[in-house]
């Protein structure tokens, strides 16, 4: 059974936890450095990226997690989690940092403020149509060729990736954990 951590500093931790349990993973809530040991994978949930980044620093998790990711830990980041994994953050705080492990630039609230938050259907490569819940969602604006794009969405301004992967690192603009469809979590856990 795969042991998957959910970064539990802030955000929709319990939705990810129940999804991961549904697809057969053993789930660990990660609030401290010690809880990072012996994980096969880690989910960075939705929430506020500035808050999670702040708490990653104060908890001392940041440098340890950086090392674990370097050493090959698999990570799935949704929404705020995607921002934390991005190479470049647009419209963020001037001092906003990230783990810089996905070769893309992402614009915070790129799909607009809450009033523009939306639900749609996303076609995921090899999976089919999944519900896409975008909440103050980050928009991937530029991306490198060695990024595998598993799903695009066109919101009236051309196609932008919304589910991407580079080797062990996965990023998602929307919130599969808020729906009843567990196929994206299954995809991540099956690849561990």
């Amino acid at each position: 059974m795969a042991r998957v951590g959910v970064l539990a500093l802030q955000g929709d931790v319990c939705e990810h936890t129940s999804m991961l349990e549904r697809v057969g993973a053993e789930v660990v809530a990660v609030r401290d450095v010690e809880q990072l040991d012996t994980l096969d994978g880690l989910v960075m949930p939705g929430g506020e990226s500035t808050t999670i980044a702040y708490l990653l620093t104060t908890s001392g998790i940041r440098p340890i997690l950086e090392k674990k990711i370097d050493d090959g830990l698999s990570v799935l980041g949704t929404c705020a989690g995607l921002i934390l994994l991005a190479h470049e953050i647009l419209d963020g705080r001037s001092d906003q940092w990230s783990f810089d492990v996905l070769p893309l630039s992402v614009r915070r609230n790129g799909y607009g403020r809450q009033i523009s938050s939306f639900e749609t259907v996303v076609e995921v490569k090899g999976v089919g149509e999944v519900p896409g819940v975008f909440i103050r969602a980050p928009k991937i604006e530029t991306w490198s060729d060695d990024l595998e794009v598993l799903a695009f969405h066109d919101h009236g301004d051309g196609e932008h990736p919304v589910l991407v992967r580079r080797e062990r690192i996965w990023g998602c603009s929307f919130h599969p954990e808020l729906t009843n469809d567990d196929r994206i979590h299954r995809l991540f856990v099956d690849a561990l």
Partner: protein, 298 residues
């Protein structure tokens, strides 16, 4: 709810409740200007509530408390990247329409402002932007959800720095939910009548044991220990009003309350962040109050 150019839908219950889900485990701070908003964001707040006066000042000044000046709300929106909430008076749907036009991320139909309608709350289904409402008990919470609220907070007694009322409201809501869970289906009709709440929501709570929307805590939280207390009582996130910017060292207090909210079960951590914080806001004994804000709304 409406359609966009493609098959997308905005303003659905899922996206409205979804933002509240994203705020879980966080601290929403009252701020009265862009400088305070920056301090809140720097200290790890998940959102700010933009208002002209914090509740303790509203209480002190008296008079009619209304929606804030749009210029002040926009100044705060420009200053931070986190969600910005703002308050409308109970029943004042025109103030809510203005706040929606300003693109605020959440509207608080709040008893802290002077009510504009003594019988009706706002029909919140009518809006694309989500609403949070206060409640003192389960019936009140379910009535607000029936009207379309996507997030419930305890009312507590705002502006007092005294957490006792928030504790009372959380305990009441939890006890009433436990009662519904142990009731059989025949009893739910009478219980819905007793709670004065929509039957379908009473039946849902009876099955799930929790509200259909997140439950946060507001009203009187002023220390990291207060945060830990209400989170252990089942609140999923907290609103802090006067407690931060009426303390001796707002930035330190804000950071300490954020840490205590994340690590609320870790007493060593809460002890560490509580150490040498300086004075919390002075606070008021509830029995000495002339005006109980929690009694506004029904």
């Amino acid at each position: 709810m409406s359609s966009l150019h493609d098959s997308s839908i905005i303003g659905s219950a899922l996206v409205k409740r979804g933002l509240a889900d994203m705020l879980r485990g966080g601290v929403i701070m009252d701020v009265v200007n862009p400088e305070q908003a920056k301090i809140a964001e720097d200290s790890g707040a998940v959102a700010v509530m933009a208002l002209e006066r914090v509740p303790s000042d509203i209480r002190r000044d008296g008079g009619v408390a209304r929606m804030s000046d749009p210029e002040m709300i926009q100044g705060i929106q420009a200053a931070v990247t986190i969600p910005v909430m703002a308050k409308a008076r109970i029943g004042h749907f025109a103030e809510a329409q203005i706040l929606e036009a300003l693109d605020v991320d959440y509207i608080d139909e709040s008893e802290v402002l002077t009510p504009a309608d003594e019988e009706n709350h706002i029909d919140k289904w009518d809006f694309t932007v989500p609403f949070v409402c206060g409640a003192t008990n389960l019936g009140e919470a379910l009535r607000r959800i029936g009207e379309g609220a996507c997030l419930i907070r305890s009312k507590g007694e705002a502006g007092t720095g005294n957490v006792v009322e928030a504790v009372r409201h959380l305990r009441t809501i939890n006890a009433q939910m436990r009662r519904l869970q142990t009731a059989d289906s025949n009893e739910l009709f009478a219980l819905a009548k007793e709670l004065q709440a929509p039957l379908s929501l009473v039946q849902e709570v009876s099955l799930t044991g929790k509200l259909p929307v997140p439950l946060f805590c507001a009203g009187g939280i002023s220390t990291p220990a207060d945060a830990s207390l209400v989170l252990q009582l089942g609140a999923e996130a907290i609103f802090v009003g006067s407690g931060i910017f009426k303390s001796d060292d707002p930035e330190r207090m804000a950071k300490a309350i954020v840490e205590a909210t994340t690590h609320f079960r870790d007493a060593h951590m809460v002890a560490k962040v509580s150490t040498g914080l300086g004075a919390a806001m002075k606070g008021i004994e509830i029995a000495s109050l002339e005006q109980r804000l929690a009694e506004r709304g029904w």
